[in-house]
Amino acid sequence: MNLKKKYKELISKSDRSTRENPFVKWLLILIAMAFAAVFLLLPIINVFAQAFSKGFGAYANALAQPDTVAAIKLTLIVAAISVPLNVLFGIAASWCLAKFEFRGKAILLTFIDLPFSVSPVVAGLMFVLLFGANGLLGPWLQAHDIKVIFALPGIVLATIFVTFPFVARELIPVMQAAGSSQEQAAMTLGASGWKTFWHVTLPSIKWGLIYGVILCNARAMGEFGAVFVVSGHIRGQTDTVPLHVETLYQEVDPAAPFAVASLLAFLALITLALKAWLEWRTERHHEAAQHPPELPLVVDTSHDTERFARGRA
């Protein structure tokens, strides 16, 4: 009895010294939550509150303006071109980087990450210097009457640049973890390369791919700096949704930019929800892999006792 008491005392003592006291704990929680409230919660709520500050009618009216509709269309077109292209690149890059060994692999990986470390404004400037009127290819493009800068191709190129690494970065580790033994087995059994990819590789990278697409799409639809530089920011023509928010910000109606911004905020919330759902899903998947449910429970327990006994020995 005495021993048990002493044991309990020891446990509570160690508990005290590996945990903060409740005052410190709740103070830290309070600071963290205050910071999260000011920098995360309030900004989101404020977008919707300001958007609806003049009532639902004014909100719907702001969204129905022809320039707003044009901006939404342009953003959807840009995303519809740039995201699939980055998916194609992401799959190709992860296939050759994860399944094969070759010289210069590390350099290639660094280059793929490069767009993340370039300021979007500088990225936009690069395309202006290449395709603009004074750019390297400017005279040739003008002679052939091709417009890149201040037009859709420029916006698409700038968007692809800033979203370049997203899909590849998600897929490379997933493919590396999966290894290539399954594909090799499929090939040995006579499947063609394409069939192997479609039935073996794609299912194994499916969730990573969806994750990458979601992030890539959010950035593609929301990019401001790079698109600002290459688009010329022409209202109703080359204004994407984020650029149109800025156009409306310069005008008199304070609720209008928020109405348009609420669309992007909504997109961000959906992105976060999907991301959280995917992470929860893969987490559960991992747990299931660690404790395979196919193992009969009886065998499992005997296995445990056996291991326990071995551990004691």
Partner: protein, 275 residues
């Protein structure tokens, strides 16, 4: 090539070919265009546009505000990561999911809503402006926007390291008689240090290049609230290509140096963790 014989999988040439082609068209050729164009301007012109007074003021604000924002993110990032990993409390999962919000929210929307929150009649401005704390159209506003965009980097870099932290070490320290504060200062903090610095550098790098959110909240006044990326755009809009390029090259050199340092740091912390 000798290794290729061991690998029966097809598609190496075509995928590598496409990867290199796409990388060249999207990243390498545009980057080369910037370099070629910059080499076309004289050294003197470069010096005069890259380091004139207005440019220096813009660097100063960019670096200063980004540094302060990264510091704020580091301090609050440590607290947030710690609280989210170690404690259970109502709303924890929601806040954990919301940490990525600045990643997902277009920067224009972030700038718009933050400018409104801190303006005279905004939800926070009504209380802060009478106290003399002006968030909109001031350097403080720049810091607020940059803190917002950099926050996920500080928290998300630290979180996995804290999750995998060996609690046994803390228990050992406790059994040897160390108090909680001492355990934190001498056992936990040194282990986290490389990760903390990496998080700081990532938040800093993100802040230096940021443009979208700052445009809305800063007011873009030359010498006062104009950051370096804004000045690039200003010069481009007035067709001063040489001036825009010179600044862009300075920004790019800085971000590459920072990227190199981050890579070194990550190697260091990996060795640190394995040791």
């Amino acid at each position: 090539m000798s290794k290729k014989s061991f690998n029966p999988l097809p598609g190496f040439r075509i995928t590598l070919g496409f990867t290199l082609f796409y990388l060249s068209v999207i990243v390498l050729i545009p980057m080369a265009a910037l370099v070629i164009k910059v080499l076309g301007i004289s050294w003197r012109e470069f010096w005069e546009t890259a380091f004139n007074e207005r440019a220096l003021a813009a660097y100063k604000l960019s670096f200063g505000a980004s540094f302060i924002a990264a510091c704020a993110n580091t301090v609050f990032g440590i607290i947030l990561a710690w609280v989210l990993v170690r404690y259970k409390f109502p709303g924890r999962r929601l806040v954990d999911a919301l940490i990525d919000f600045p990643f997902a929210l277009p920067t224009a929307v972030a700038g718009l809503t933050l400018a409104n929150l801190f303006s005279d009649h905004g939800w926070l401005g009504t209380f802060l402006v009478p106290q003399g704390i002006k968030g909109a159209f001031t350097p403080l506003g720049v810091m607020i926007a940059l803190t917002f965009v950099g926050m996920p980097f500080a928290v998300r870099t630290l979180q996995p390291v804290l999750e995998n932290f060996d609690r046994g070490v803390e228990e050992a320290a406790a059994t040897l008689g160390a108090g909680r504060l001492r355990t934190f200062a001498q056992i936990i903090a040194p282990t986290l240090l490389p990760t903390v610095i990496t998080g700081f550098a990532l938040a800093f790098a993100r802040a230096i290049g940021e443009y979208g959110s700052v445009v809305f909240i800063s007011g873009n006044l030359p010498f006062q609230t104009e950051i370096a990326p804004t000045l690039v755009v200003m010069r481009l809009e007035s067709f001063d290509y040489a001036g825009a390029m010179a600044l862009a090259v300075m920004l790019m050199i800085f971000s590459f140096v920072l990227l190199g340092m981050i890579n070194l740091l990550e190697n260091w912390s990996r060795r640190f963790q394995n040791a």
